[in-house]
């Protein structure tokens, strides 16, 4: 094997000194700003290759705006917006969507409520009309509410027995004991049962407003065509959101390993501590740092130590999770009960090592190459691009971000990494929740 390894190293170097990756990979994506007469704004990437239009709309809302005792309101609402709107009841509305091959779906995060529309050009106007109706005039009929409530309760009951969900929910609850972030976004049986039609309507009226909207559109539509549709679709929404304010909060972390006993052969582990906000000047350095620690799927230190060297897991990873009102660095691993203590120890050890020693120049160089070189890969479908366009606006980033983003990564220096590693990584406050029947924990 030694001979092979030497040759391998030589081959590897040859690849590394090859020409730098095309930094202008995304230059072809031209982002236009379209503003309707009502003031509703969207970012548009025209692409007339296929007769398809993708739209993403987000509101600064999400599960954190659920009222106390009513966790799951936004989630339940997200399943109800296609269950009838205007004078069309559920079946009529869904048949209309389906007969025209229009996809309309809604998702809920902790800080965002997101809608996604996809249509063929030939059904464009009707697709926008149905989206507008769903946001402005959802019926929220009693039978539809009961149907969706039953599905979500079933789902919550399953989550309550699933080791991964138990670990996630327990971690967030411990980190944010008195804050909406501490509640499961999908609620639980009790909170879902408590939600009324009035609660759902109240959520719609307070949160679906033009001042927190962000819209991304991609595909077979011109700026002039989009302009009129923006007014028709989103113009009727109230000007200002009056959602429940969410306070800023720091996660509460014991630095301990908390075990939740469950009779499963493999323990599922969630870990994390305080992170870094999207607007922080160190965000890009932290992003690169995390890539080296546990973000890069087959190249990270955690992957190497836990999986490659010891076969302790199929998957181990870490990620930055910036929230609107807090920030986290989190990760997850799953290891058989007999060995999970070793995984936990290794992860904490890697955390401490990186905080102390930082990363090597070669690791930094390689991470930056990957992060900049792979950026173009995100532009391979209309939906991906429309989601990014909405996210950029929601984050307050500039319209030329696609062109500039790689330069922000390229600008990260070894000194930045060293500073951010010290600032960000705190092995002693890294808090683990282990669900399973672990030995030695």
């Amino acid at each position: 094997m030694n001979a092979f390894l030497n040759k391998a190293a030589a081959g590897f170097l040859a690849v590394l000194v090859a020409a730098p990756l095309a930094a202008a990979a995304t230059a072809a994506v031209k982002v236009q700003e379209v503003v309707g007469a009502s003031g509703v704004k969207a970012w548009l990437v025209e692409d007339h290759t296929n007769p398809i239009i993708s739209l993403t709309v987000t509101f600064r809302a999400g599960a954190s705006r659920d009222m106390p005792g009513k966790a799951g309101t936004a989630r339940l609402l997200s399943t109800l917006l296609d269950e009838g709107a205007g004078d069309m009841k559920a079946l009529a509305f869904q048949r209309r969507l389906e007969s025209l091959s229009i996809s309309l779906g809604f998702e809920v995060g902790r800080d965002t409520f997101r809608g996604t529309l996809r249509t063929l050009t030939r059904n464009r106007d009707e697709a926008f009309r149905l989206l507008g109706l769903a946001l402005d005039k959802p019926r929220l009929d009693a039978d539809a509410i009961e149907r969706m409530r039953a599905q979500l309760i079933s789902s919550a009951l399953r989550a309550a027995r699933n080791p991964g969900s138990i670990a996630q929910n327990a971690w967030w609850k411990a980190a944010y004991p008195n804050h909406p972030y501490g509640r499961p976004t999908g609620g639980d049986e009790k909170s879902l049962t408590a939600i009324t039609r009035a609660d759902l309507l109240d959520y719609v009226r307070r949160n679906f407003a033009r001042d927190t909207i962000a819209i991304g559109v991609v595909g077979d539509i011109t700026a002039a065509e989009l302009k009129g549709l923006l007014d028709k679709t989103f113009g009727p929404l109230p000007a200002k959101a009056t959602g429940r304010p969410v306070p800023d909060v720091k996660p509460r972390l014991s630095g301990k390993v908390v075990v939740r006993k469950l009779d499963v052969p493999q323990s599922v582990v969630v870990f994390g501590h305080a992170g870094i906000q999207r607007k922080d000047k160190d965000f890009y350095a932290a992003y690169v740092l995390n890539h080296i620690l546990g973000g890069g799927s087959f190249s990270s230190r955690l992957h190497n130590e836990v999986r490659e060297k010891r076969g302790l897991a199929y998957s181990v990873h870490s990620y930055l999770w910036p929230l609107d009102h807090s920030a986290l660095v989190m990760g997850a691993v799953a290891t058989r009960n007999a060995k999970v203590a070793e995984s936990v120890k290794l992860i904490r050890g890697e955390w401490a090592r990186m905080a102390k020693e930082g990363v090597s120049d070669a690791e930094l160089k390689s991470a930056k190459r990957y992060i900049t070189g792979s950026y173009a890969l995100r532009f391979s479908s209309s939906k991906n691009i429309s989601e990014m366009l909405a996210a950029l606006q929601a984050e307050g980033l500039s319209r030329d971000y696609f062109e500039k983003r790689n330069s922000y990564i390229a600008a990260v220096t070894p000194a930045d990494i060293k500073r951010v590693a010290k600032r960000l990584l705190r092995a002693n406050s890294l808090t683990f929740v282990v669900v399973g029947d672990p030995a030695g924990l």
């Binding site: 090859a18 149907r147 190249s299 199929y314 532009f379």
Partner: protein, 494 residues
């Protein structure tokens, strides 16, 4: 490094797991998780309009031009999967897929992935019953680099016992994550095992735990030598590329790999299925019961293949959205289930399956939901589908084909799965036309062919405390004597 339970299984698996969690959203998607569903562009005749080459050593190269972004997806598909394993070595196809990252005569363990990452590429691999595939997604100017290293590991894999030993722990953890920790996966595995009486499709792709533990370097290398060769491979490149230049590059790197003599794929076939089977898995981790019914069904390549398109239309009508028959009957009208649906994939070398699943409403016995499912199937067999339902379903499928052209992956996946399961590029390109030709009579005949209880397994997932369910009572099924070509279902209960 992942295994894809394609051929309908992946969908079944996900739906079983998350049918409740994703129901409302998933039901909105037309043809969810159906890469093989291509469609008719308005201008050109085909769907993806690929260029196909065959190299002298037998390797097939397919190039799909898509200029949305300056990127390229490079995939190598081998016509071998877990159903090609020998008895006693279950999991070897998937294990080898992991081991393919462990080095060659010129690259050390993990070096392959380092090169891909250093070139800004994303990569992975997946294994199914009929195929194993590897891919890299890169900026287009990196294509030659990844083609070179992929061609290298087609012939020059080197494994050490130590690497194999360590990676075996990884696949065991993978099985724990995917199966042992998930009651619905355990049920699914048992249902498939019971459905296929003789076909290797009854074996889990990842393998049985006790056999996985015994898989050795020798097993992996032997499997590799038997199946990995240019004349058993298809290279697919999709993206902002020039077909002639891709061909030249392929000739340079893949053209240098020597072909080997291949044994025909050995696939034991199903005997007539004569007895309905029931499988029950009871587990303390299950909060509420759920139900799955899986029937043997033809694929594009095996059995009554002429119904493969009609069955896709039937699947749409029965259970892929909130407007479909099962959902409207069991969830909306009768309120006995919180979710219900169906699934079918025609893409398989051997007999496929058509499945139905349901989750009872709180307090509703699982037997009652099964009876309601049976009643809907009986109604279908008695009254048939309507012309309107067929027209609508066909339109949605054909439109899904237009959406399929929106990203690189769909075309590459459609063609890769087709070429490894006995179909051709022309079949993929003609898919919208074939769907367009489906008639009401064909859909009804397909339903009568498939929905025969003696060719099915009914699986129930029960909470520990609950009692065993009573077998469901339902109306007997009668084949419609008025329809020529009806397949008699005998005394089957539906």
């Amino acid at each position: 490094m992942f295994l894809v339970q394609a051929n309908g299984a992946s969908a079944a698996y996900r739906r079983l797991l998350g049918c409740l969690a994703v129901a409302a959203v998933a039901f909105l998607a037309v043809a969810p998780a159906a890469p093989a569903r291509a469609a008719a562009p308005p201008a050109k005749k085909g769907v993806f309009n690929p260029t196909v080459f065959t190299l002298k050593n037998g390797l097939k190269l397919v190039v799909l031009v898509n200029r949305r972004a300056p990127v390229a997806l490079h995939m190598v598909w081998y016509k071998v999967g877990s159903a090609d394993e020998r008895p006693g070595e279950s999991g070897i196809a998937h294990f080898l897929e992991h081991l393919m990252f462990k080095g060659t005569e010129t690259l050390g363990p993990g070096e392959f992935s380092k090169i891909v990452a250093a070139n800004g590429g994303r990569e992975n691999a997946f294994t199914s019953w009929d195929y194993t595939a590897y891919y890299q997604f890169v900026a287009k100017d990196r294509l030659p680099t990844v083609m070179k290293i992929e061609a290298d590991r087609m012939a020059n894999l080197v494994l050490s016992d130590e690497e194999v030993r360590r990676e075996r722990f990884v696949i065991l953890e993978e099985r724990r994550s995917r199966t042992e920790n998930r009651p619905s996966s355990i049920l699914f595995e048992q249902v498939r095992r019971a459905l296929y009486l003789n076909s290797p499709y009854g074996r889990p792709i990842i393998g049985w735990m006790h056999e996985m533990k015994t898989l050795s370097t020798k097993d992996a290398i032997s499997f590799y030598r038997r199946h990995y060769a240019p004349n058993n491979a298809i290279v697919i490149v999709a993206g902002d590329v020039d077909p002639a230049r891709v061909k030249a590059e392929a000739e340079k790197v893949y053209g240098a790999v020597k072909p080997v003599s291949l044994a025909p794929r050995f696939r034991p076939q199903e005997p007539p299925q004569r007895a309905a089977r029931r499988v029950t898995f009871t587990d303390a981790r299950v909060p509420r019961p759920s139900l799955v019914r899986m029937y043997i069904a033809p694929s594009y390549s095996r059995g009554a293949t002429k119904y493969a398109y009609a069955l896709q239309v039937l699947d749409q009508i029965l259970g892929t959205s909130a407007t479909s028959r099962l959902y409207q009957a069991l969830v909306v009208r009768d309120k006995v289930a919180t979710s219900v649906g169906s699934g079918y994939s025609a893409t398989a070398l051997d007999l496929s399956n058509f499945y139905l699943y349901a989750s009872p409403q709180k307090g509703v016995p699982v037997a009652k939901v099964e009876a309601a499912l049976n009643a809907e199937i009986a109604r279908l067999l008695r009254d048939g589908v309507t012309a309107g339902e067929v027209k609508n379903a066909k339109q949605r499928l054909m439109d899904a084909a237009i959406f399929a052209r929106d990203n690189l992956r769909t075309g590459a996946m459609s063609i890769g799965t087709a070429l490894t399961t006995g179909r051709t590029v022309a079949d993929v390109e003609a898919w919208p036309d074939r769907i367009g030709e489906v008639t009401v009579d064909q859909v009804n005949a397909a339903a009568r062919l498939v929905f025969r209880i003696e060719r099915s397994v009914t699986g129930t997932l029960l909470p520990k405390a609950a009692a065993e369910p009573e077998p469901a009572k339902a109306e007997p099924t009668k084949a419609d004597p008025a329809r020529p070509g009806a397949v008699k279902s005998g005394t089957a209960k539906q």
